[in-house]
Amino acid sequence: MAVIRISTPMTDEVAESLKAGDNVLISGTLYTARDAAHKRLVELIREGKDLPMDIKGQIIYYVGPAPAKPGQAIGSAGPTTSYRMDPYAPILIEHGLKGMIGKGSRSQSVIDAMVKYKAVYFAAIGGAGALLAKSIKASEIVAYEDLGPEAIRKLTVEDFPAVVVNDTFGNDLYEQGVREYRIE
C-alpha cells in the first residue's frame, strides 16, 4: 500500500495533492483540541482576540490523551469522534486550519469549508491509542490546563499514520468504502 509522507505546516499544494483513501505518515507538529477547547477557541475568534497558537497551515488532532507513565512522552492517544467538533471546525478552517485528525463522519458544512479553503480531514485508527502513541515523540501543554485531558497540547510527531477521509475535492472515503462493500 503506497504511503505519502507529509509534514506540518501544510501548504495548499500539499493539501490539494491528497485524495480520499490515501495513506499518509505525518511528521512535525500537531495541536490537540477536543470539545471544550474548540468552544474556547471559537469564542476568542468571535471576540476578535488572538488564539493561544497560530493555526495557519496547522493540523488539529482530536484527542484527549491518557497521562504519560514515567518514561513515556505521552499516554495512549487515539482519536476521538469528530462530529462533536463540527459546529466549530468551519470557522477554524476559514482562519487557516489546514487539517484535522479524528474518526467518524463530518457534517456537510465542514466538508464545504474544506473544499472552499483547501483543508483535509484525516482519520486515525480509533481504539489504537497505544500504537499511535509510539509515533508521538513529545507533548507539552499550550493552553487550558484546567481542562485536564481536554487541554490544548503541542505534539511533536514522527510518521504518525492516518488515512485521508475528506479531500479538498469533496470526496468522502466513508461513502466510497460502504458503496464498494455493501451487500443489498
Binding site: 500500500m1 476521538t80 474518526k103 463522519s105 491509542g129 497505544a130 485536564g148 462493500y181 451487500i183
Partner: protein, 286 residues
C-alpha cells in the same frame, strides 16, 4: 437464618478490588474479542480493512505487554456488584469505598479522567474519574462478585432506544438495531460489539443492552431463538459494508449479544448499546 450464616466483608476489600480492576482492565482487551478480531482478519476481503484489523491487533498486543490502556478513553467506571444476601458490609460506606477504588486506580494507573461534575452548566472535570456508575443485584449466597467495565464515550454516544409496538415483532427489532448501527457508521470505532436489550421497561431495556454489550464476545444467548437472532443480526450488520473503522469491508461487528426480559402486554422495548473493539471488562469474586 442463624447469625453464623452472616458473612462480614470490610468495604476496604471492595476498594482494593476495584482499584486493581481499574488498573488492569483497560490494558487487557478480553480474549474473546481478540479471537474474534483474529478470525475477522483472516476473513476480511477489503485490503484496507485487513490492514486496520492488523494494526488493531498490534495495538492490543502493545497495550497488554506495556500495561498501557488499549484506548486513551478509559471511560466511565462502571461497577456491577452481585451481593450475596448473607453479606454484611462493614468498615464504612460501600459506595464511597467503590469511588475511592476508582479514584486510586485511575490516578495510580495513569488512566484518563473523563468525568465532568454536571452535564450541562459547569462541566468541570472531577480529575479522578469519579463518580462511578454503580449497579447492585442481591443474589443468594455469601460472596460478592465485582464486575468492572471502562465504558468509552464514543461508542456510548451512538446508542439508542425505541418503544416499539408488539406488532413490530422480530422484524421491527431487527430494523431498529440495523438502522442504529448504520446511523453510527464509522463513529463507534468499528469493528464493534452490539449489545441489544429487548423487553422490560423503558429504564430496564437500556440496562439489558448494557449487560449485553459487556457479555464476553463468543458467548451465545442460552435461549435458542435469541441465539439465532444474534447470529442473523450479526450477518445482516456485516452486509452493511461499513467495515473496520468505516473504511469499507465485511467486518463491521464482531458480535451481537442480546439480553431480554419479560415485558408489558402493550410494549416491545428495544435498546441498542455499542462498544468498540477495545472495550474491556473484568471481574473479581470476594
Amino acid at each position: 437464618m442463624g447469625e453464623c450464616s452472616v458473612r462480614k466483608v470490610d468495604v476496604s476489600e471492595v476498594m482494593q478490588a476495584i482499584k486493581k480492576l481499574a488498573m488492569n482492565t483497560t490494558a487487557n482487551v478480553p480474549k474473546g474479542a481478540i479471537a474474534a478480531l483474529e478470525g475477522a482478519y483472516s476473513r476480511e476481503e477489503s485490503p484496507v480493512g485487513k490492514e486496520v484489523i492488523k494494526q488493531i491487533l498490534e495495538n492490543h498486543r502493545i497495550a497488554r505487554e506495556d500495561n498501557v490502556p488499549a484506548c486513551q478513553d478509559t471511560g466511565v467506571a462502571m461497577v456491577f456488584l452481585e451481593i450475596g444476601q448473607n453479606v454484611v458490609f462493614t468498615g464504612g460506606d460501600l459506595y464511597e469505598a467503590i469511588n475511592e477504588g476508582v479514584r486510586q486506580g485511575y490516578v495510580e494507573g495513569y488512566l484518563r479522567k473523563s468525568i465532568v461534575t454536571d452535564p450541562l452548566f459547569e462541566r468541570v472535570n472531577t480529575r479522578d474519574n469519579t463518580p462511578a456508575v454503580i449497579y447492585t443485584d442481591i443474589v443468594p449466597g455469601s460472596s460478592v462478585k465485582i464486575m468492572f467495565a471502562a465504558k468509552g464515550g464514543g461508542a456510548e454516544n451512538m446508542s439508542g432506544l425505541a418503544m416499539l409496538a408488539p406488532a413490530a415483532g422480530v422484524e421491527g427489532v431487527k430494523r431498529f438495531v440495523i438502522e442504529q448501527v448504520k446511523k453510527a457508521g464509522p463513529n463507534p470505532c468499528p469493528p464493534i460489539v452490539v449489545g441489544v436489550g429487548i423487553g422490560g421497561t423503558f429504564d430496564r431495556v437500556a440496562l439489558l443492552a448494557k449487560r449485553a454489550v459487556l457479555r464476553d464476545v463468543g458467548t451465545v444467548n442460552p435461549h435458542p431463538e435469541y441465539a439465532r437472532l444474534e447470529k442473523e443480526l450479526l450477518e445482516e450488520i456485516n452486509k452493511l459494508g461499513i467495515g473496520p473503522q468505516g473504511f469499507g469491508g465485511r467486518t463491521t461487528a464482531l458480535a451481537v449479544n442480546i439480553e431480554w426480559a419479560p415485558c408489558h402486554i402493550a410494549s416491545l422495548p428495544v435498546a441498542c448499546n455499542l462498544n468498540c473493539h477495545a472495550g474491556s471488562h473484568d471481574s473479581i469474586v470476594l
